[in-house]
């Protein structure tokens, strides 16, 4: 269907907020590595990943605009902290530690990929078309981060230890990716999405498979409470948001 019934507008906007905000902030954090990643190819890759993610976020904000009429830049940069719906792993500081950056990327990229697959099956065709298209780009992210997991996991004791420490440290925040967006059940009941089983489980299986291939494992538990998806954020998020909004809050009409 190409028309979305009014009752689904707010619930779907909320789902799109979660998806787009995750990508916007992850892209923003990844851009920190431009110019300083450990090797040239990694530098180019993280800059491209950042561009991809921010472009994907932008496409989702534009899609939101077709539902709500709200200006995409205003949605991206003009909200109060508690109106953002990203999971806080995307803004978790990596302290410029490469293992942290890879761990964060690993959890987020795989989760995004499986979430995009589901969005591709949305019965509202504009979202399905966009998600399917982005999914093909996301597959490259999944592939790339898998290469790094293999590289570090099969490296020496030091690289393995650093990666394991990072994976363990980020695991509780990673699990928060799967907090259910408000209104999602309304969309399921209304047939906008079909029930494809537990996304957390599907994501966890993928994480386990990749880590198993390098003899590593991590404990991921279903999130106990609601944080970012309900607008409750931590200090790292607030720091990222202040930085992200710096130009916009100085001059909302600034253009490149």
């Amino acid at each position: 269907m190409s028309e979305l019934a009014t009752e689904f507008h707010e619930p779907l906007l909320n789902v799109l907020r979660c998806v787009a905000d995750d990508k916007l902030f992850l892209g923003h954090r990844n851009s920190d590595w431009t110019g300083i990643a450990p090797i040239l190819e990694a530098d180019i890759a993280f800059s491209s990943l950042a561009q991809d993610d921010i472009a994907h976020a932008s496409a989702f904000y534009e899609l939101m605009n077709t539902i709500s009429g709200e200006d995409p830049d205003q949605i991206a940069f003009g909200r109060a902290a508690n109106a953002y719906r990203c999971a806080d792993i995307v803004t978790k500081s990596d302290d410029f530690n490469w293992a942290n950056a890879i761990a964060r990327q690993f959890y987020c990229n795989l989760y995004d990929y499986h979430r995009l697959l589901r969005l591709s099956n949305c019965t509202w065709s504009p979202l399905a078309t966009l998600a399917k298209r982005i999914c093909a780009e996301q597959a490259v992210h999944v592939d790339h981060v898998g290469t790094w997991i293999t590289h570090l996991g099969n490296g020496n004791n030091d690289s393995k230890h650093r990666l394991q420490t990072a994976l363990d440290a980020y695991a509780p925040y990673a699990a928060m990716l799967s907090e259910k967006p408000e209104g999602f059940d309304t969309l399921l009941e209304g047939g906008v999405f079909t029930d494809e089983g537990c996304l957390f489980t599907q994501w966890k299986e993928h994480v386990d498979t990749v880590l198993d291939s390098v003899g590593m494992k991590v404990t991921l538990e279903t999130p106990s409470g609601l944080g970012g998806r309900m607008g409750s954020h931590d200090e790292d998020f607030l720091r990222s948001l202040t930085e992200l909004q710096e130009v916009f809050s100085t001059d909302p009409l600034a253009a490149w």
Partner: protein
């Protein structure tokens, strides 16, 4: 009356800012519609939100407005149908090959449950655009632009780029 063929010949002269090829050969134009003095161009992004799009759209507006009889030019960005590497014309492929950029052929992938199955540069031997050897290795899945990967040919010892298969 403005003729569609005139619009296309002007579009044919507009190069992609990141690729040695025109936007028509790259397959970015989905449609051109003319109503009296008004021209409506539908433009597809290669990659979602490609940063070259505003520049391309602006150049289309400028060049097409210069055609006699045209008063209003509207450039609309659309995502449906999605752009794919299949849309690149034979002339475009030849031009890209001359610049050492290889282009996938065949049908486009779409989402499946297994991520690795879809990434073409892992599943096929990529031919070198310089010497056609398949003895090539992937240097990086990310290149100078979002739509390209970087490879190295072990036969002729040259680096080359390849458009990501979409």
């Amino acid at each position: 009356m403005v003729a569609k063929v005139d619009i296309y010949s002007v579009l044919q002269t507009i190069p992609d800012p990141e690729m040695p090829i025109s936007i028509t050969d790259l397959g970015l134009i989905e449609s051109v519609n003319i109503t009296d003095t008004k021209v409506h161009v539908e433009l597809l992004p290669t990659f979602i939100g490609c940063f070259a799009l505003p520049a391309i759209a602006e150049e289309i507006r400028q060049k097409v407005s210069g055609i006699e009889g045209v008063e209003i030019v509207k450039v609309e960005l659309i995502n449906d149908p999605p752009w794919s590497t299949d849309r690149i014309t034979d002339a475009g492929r030849a031009s890209l090959a001359e610049h050492g950029i290889s282009v996938p052929d065949g049908s486009s992938p779409c989402c499946s449950a297994s991520a690795t199955e879809q990434v073409e540069f892992r599943t096929s031997a990529i031919p070198c655009p310089w010497c056609n050897s398949r003895e090539t290795t992937l240097t990086s899945p990310f290149g100078p632009t979002r739509c390209k990967t970087i490879h190295f040919c072990n036969a002729c010892r040259q680096p080359f780029e390849r458009m990501k298969k979409l």
